[in-house]
């Protein structure tokens, strides 16, 4: 469903006319099937956030294509209603001037699917209850919410348009561990209900192993290995083995 082929991305170091380029992504190719949760595990600086931005169409790759159901993701209309995202920093993920209700309805309004008179508040209530918040949260402002609550609102916003793919860019890294588990369980449930596909970008192997079906080990802009989660103990590459050895478990 999501096809990433031959992606390369580099950034200019220096001013407008400099020739110094820093290669961030090199020949990245992978696929994400319908209904699958694909994890991208990489250390900081490996380029996984850049990859996330490219999948979301926020930036343009130097070469290669990213396509959703055969159509290029760069086209805004392809993304509308089909792709959504949840980011790491929940304090800056919601416009501070909007209430929770307005924030959740925003992608639907942009798609003009929402008619002014019908069932808006019921839809918002339904979404809020699905992410585990009660309807009293509708009129709250983002700065009044705790980390876990704000991230749930972002998830509600992401599923509001029933997209095909949701990209999670370190979505649980800033949360407390107990809240992380709750959010991971929530995401698992939502995936079953809405038949979603996830791309889960993280550096936390244990969280990725909890929720993902397949995992990509990512290092310095390149795909090192792609392995189904069940076969994580049988990784072949040295880097993946090193990662697993260095993991601190409880």
């Amino acid at each position: 469903m999501l096809k990433v082929e031959g992606i390369e991305k580099s950034y200019n170091q220096g001013g407008l006319f400099s020739k110094n380029k820093q290669q961030v992504l090199k020949q990245v190719t992978f696929e994400c099937q319908q209904g699958e949760c694909l994890g991208i595990i990489g250390e900081s600086g490996s380029g996984k956030s850049t990859l996330g931005r490219l999948i979301l169409g926020i930036e343009r790759p130097d070469c290669g294509t990213i396509s959703l159901d055969g159509k290029d993701v760069q086209d805004r209309r392809v993304r509308m209603g089909n792709i959504s995202a949840v980011f790491q920093n929940y304090t800056s993920s919601i416009n501070p001037f909007l209430t929770v209700e307005a924030a959740i309805m925003e992608p639907m309004q942009a798609q003009q699917k929402l008619r002014k008179d019908q069932g808006n508040s019921e839809k918002v209530d339904l979404l809020l209850s699905q992410v585990g918040l009660d309807p009293s949260y509708r009129s709250k402002y983002p700065h009044e919410l705790s980390g876990g609550e704000a991230q749930r609102v972002c998830i509600a916003r992401a599923i509001s348009t029933a997209p095909k793919l949701i990209v999670f860019d370190e979505a649980i890294s800033s949360l407390d561990v107990s809240v992380q588990i709750q959010v991971l369980q929530l995401l698992k449930e939502l995936k079953e209900i809405y038949k979603l596909s996830y791309v889960f970008i993280t550096h936390d192997i244990q969280a990725a192993a909890y929720i993902c079906d397949r995992v990509i080990i990512f290092r310095e802009g390149q795909v090192v290995e792609i392995v189904p989660t069940k076969q994580l103990k049988d990784v072949q590459s040295d880097y993946a083995k090193r990662l697993l050895k260095h993991l601190i478990t409880f």
Partner: protein, 298 residues
């Protein structure tokens, strides 16, 4: 409105707002409010001190100082407001485009702004006035011409800071059209910064126009303008200092009012003061965002 409610907590800000509004209304309705014709010369009343008929006395040509003051609101305050709004509008549009799209668009726009900003302010104004001739319209054209680049730069900084926010990224990712993102997400957050720098620049613009009129380049006699009134009173500065008092005080009062309002707006427009119960949260009032404009107050 929420902004008014937040402002109403600050007594100084409310006073300033009231002063400004009264001033603007007086300026618009000057023919109805002014007791006498500002141009009416009466040589018998030269340098008369204040009387019941002429509340602030008469100037060197016997004209009523109060009426001249009221009529002077129009060029000194109202026209400056118009020029400021135009300048801010042009600067804002350019700033939004440069700050939101970044990359090459931003680079080229900023080079143009750099060129505009490298001309020294007063010299440019004098050059424009020299070419087009003296007069209020030409000075205001010169101001708009000079100032838009500065606004564009400051607004661009503010926009760049906000267009990196995750909610803008989310809107882009979910396929929202760019114009909708700018109007719905970026304009409301940058509005606070724009309002603050605009009200701050009001002061400098007013003072510059008064200064240029003082030099004789602005509005021409016999029209009333505060700077020009100061110029006329300059000749008798030591024998009749009270003639400088009226226009001088008026300028000080209006400039201070805009300054106080500008500072209060910065706090009032902070989104963290909004709460779901509609009440303002006292604990946040002491935290004030320090915007980029503080360092580049023109």
């Amino acid at each position: 409105m929420r902004i008014l409610k937040n402002l109403s907590k600050d007594k100084l800000a409310m006073t300033s707002l009231v002063v400004i509004i009264v001033m603007i209304i007086a300026g618009i309705f000057a023919p109805l409010i002014a007791p006498h014709d500002p141009g009416q010369v009466n040589m018998k009343l030269r340098y008369a001190s204040s009387s019941w008929d002429y509340l602030l006395g008469n100037d060197h040509l016997g004209r009523c100082v109060l009426s001249r003051l009221i009529y002077g609101i129009r060029p000194s305050v109202l026209w400056v407001l118009v020029a400021l709004s135009l300048s801010v509008l042009i600067g804002a549009i350019v700033g939004f485009i440069a700050g939101y799209f970044k990359g090459k668009v931003d680079a080229w726009i900023m080079r143009v702004c750099d060129i505009m900003l490298s001309f020294p302010g007063y010299v440019m104004t004098l050059a424009v006035v020299g070419i087009l001739g003296a007069g209020l319209e030409n000075i205001l054209i010169a101001f708009v011409w000079m100032k838009w680049a500065w606004f564009a730069r400051v607004i661009r900084t503010s926009v760049m800071q906000f267009s990196d926010m995750d909610y803008v990224k989310f809107a882009k990712a979910s396929g929202t059209p760019n114009l909708r993102i700018i109007t719905k997400h970026i304009v409301p957050v940058t509005f606070a910064d724009i309002a603050v720098i605009a009200s701050g620049s009001m002061c400098s613009m007013m003072l510059q126009i008064s200064g240029l009129s003082f030099l004789g380049l602005g509005i021409q006699a016999p029209h009333a303008e505060w700077g020009m009134m100061l110029n006329e009173a300059r000749e008798v500065m030591f024998s009749r200092p009270e003639l400088m008092l009226a226009p001088g005080l008026a300028i000080v009062v209006v400039v201070s009012a805009f300054n106080f309002l500008s500072d209060a707006l910065q706090v009032a427009l902070d989104p963290k003061l909004m709460t779901s119960q509609g009440k303002s949260d006292k604990s946040y009032e002491s935290e004030v965002r320090k915007p980029a404009y503080e360092y580049s107050r023109g």
